[in-house]
């Protein structure tokens, strides 16, 4: 599963890091960092992260 975050849209709300801490984290500068690919077993978490992003910046691609 591939993950992209539209960084022009992302406002570092950090909600994704609450929902899927294995994939998204907020670094010490307060900026979002994320894994561009994640194991299928994390799909639920990542879907949840995409749902709760207030600016809907997270997109998921299969494969």
């Amino acid at each position: 599963m591939q993950i992209t975050v539209d960084m022009k849209r992302c406002q570092d709300h950090g909600q994704c890091a609450i929902a899927a801490p294995d994939v998204f984290r907020i670094n010490d500068e307060g900026r979002l960092e994320y894994e561009p690919t994640a194991d299928e077993s994390l799909r639920d978490e990542v879907e949840e992260a995409a749902d709760v992003c207030p600016v809907q910046a997270i997109a998921l691609l299969d494969g």
């Binding site: 709300h13 909600q15 801490p21 010490d28 307060g30 207030p54 600016v55 809907q56």
Partner: protein, 421 residues
């Protein structure tokens, strides 16, 4: 009549915004594989409302509907690819006993299971004076109308009536757009009902220093002008000149289409139990802003919660409930304790809230200095329930997003044995 899937008509979701979309997704996730239809009054596929008063109102580009809708449209999951979105269709009435809906065009729609997701609309001021030049912000079309009006004006004077979150946020965005902005709030400092007096006053000072004018403790009694608003008359007799007015004075629940069904409690939204089952109706659940449900996080009083996080949380609970009801099974009884959370952006301030600060009777300033909000402030909200002081809400202003997890965790897995149920 009560066997599951009696008409094979599937599930109908009424309301096509965040709650309606999440309900459809969660129904599929919960195993409903029959027909699924979302009927929504707005002509657009579901889109995200919070940016309307922030990025969309402030967007420097043109006001093309497609372009702006593209900025806020929700992505559609593969699981809802076969969901039938019936847009621009308003449900006018219903007979829940016969499981039938009446649409505005006179047609009828049957269902096996029903999801109520019709949300809110802005309350309008019923005051003497012209109605032209008065705006609200709830829908994409509302914002486009306001943007077009602003595009034709130079440094317009705007009066925002109502100093709640939407009013204050809108005022801040309008200020950034170069408007001269006055917020009129009869109750007290902006957002005081939620933030408490001390923090609200600090916010008022902070925003005033940057140019947002606040008139508090005074109401609006009418509008001046001939066909178009030229000013606002205050309850103390003063008059404020205004080229346009934004009304942000709360909301009305879209429950009219449910009226006339015996057994429902529509006094404030739709009364539900903690599985989101609509009280007084069979095979019916409610989700989002319109659902009034108990949350043992605080007490057992059913309340509506107008936060963005609630449509998703309630859909996750309501969908399995409805699927169980359709199968003639008993829905899950584990307690439903969603943690309400919201955010708001106002000039250089970002608010992040967890729990229900508005229910507190005591506010504790845990971190920071009220005269330096931009540097970060943490307020904890407490309420005494049955002699016990409980932490019911948290508001963070400009704290690093890294802290959110810890702030939210304070409300997870409360000791339910101490609950009031």
């Amino acid at each position: 009549m009560s066997e599951p899937g009696a008409h094979g008509a599937g599930v109908v979701v009424v309301g096509g915004s965040l709650a309606g979309l999440r309900a459809a997704e969660q129904l599929r996730a919960a195993g409903h594989d029959g027909p699924l239809r979302v009927v929504g009054e707005e002509p657009h596929l579901p889109y995200n409302r919070p940016p309307l008063s922030k990025e969309v109102l402030g967007d420097p580009g043109d006001s093309d509907l497609e372009r702006l809708h593209g900025l806020v449209a929700f992505r559609r999951r593969a699981s809802v690819a076969d969901v039938d979105f019936v847009l621009g269709a308003r449900v006018e009435g219903s007979d829940l006993e016969a499981r039938k809906l009446r649409l505005a065009d006179g047609t009828h729609l049957g269902y096996d299971g029903l999801v109520v997701a019709t949300g809110l609309r802005p309350r309008r001021l019923d005051l003497p004076g012209p109605s032209l030049g008065r705006y609200v912000i709830r829908t994409l079309d509302d914002v486009i109308t306001l943007r077009l009006r602003l595009a034709g004006a130079t440094d317009p004077r705007v009066v925002v009536v109502g100093g709640g979150f939407i009013g204050t946020e809108t005022a801040c965005t309008l200020l950034k757009l170069g408007c001269d902005v006055t917020v009129v709030e009869p109750f007290g400092a902006p957002m005081e009902r939620v933030l408490g007096a001390d923090l609200a006053l600090a916010v008022q000072r902070h925003l005033t220093a940057q140019g947002v004018r606040f008139l508090t403790g005074v109401g609006v009694s009418g509008f001046t002008g001939e066909a178009h608003v030229a000013g606002v008359t205050l309850s103390d007799g003063r008059e404020l000149p205004a080229d346009l007015v934004v009304e942000a004075v709360g909301s009305v629940c879209n429950t009219e289409w449910l009226e006339g069904n015996p057994g429902l409690d529509l006094t404030d939204g739709v009364l539900c139990d903690d599985r989101l089952r609509v009280v007084g109706a069979s095979r019916t659940v409610a989700v989002g802003d319109i659902a009034r449900f108990p949350n043992v996080l605080v007490d057992d009083v059913p309340r509506r919660v107008e936060h963005w996080s609630i449509p998703t949380d309630t859909a996750k609970r309501a969908a399995p409930t409805l699927v169980a009801l359709l199968r003639g099974e008993e829905p899950d009884t584990t307690p439903f304790v969603p943690v309400p959370s919201f955010w708001s952006d106002q000039l250089d301030l970002r608010f992040q809230s967890f729990g229900s600060p508005g229910l507190a009777d005591e506010v504790e300033l845990a971190e920071g200095d009220l005269d330096r909000l931009a540097d970060g402030v943490l307020a904890l909200y407490h309420r005494t329930v049955a002699g016990e002081r409980r932490h019911v809400g948290t508001v963070a202003v400009n704290l690093p997003p890294k802290r959110q997890r810890e702030l939210r965790a304070a409300f997870l897995q409360p000791d339910l044995s101490k609950g009031t149920r």
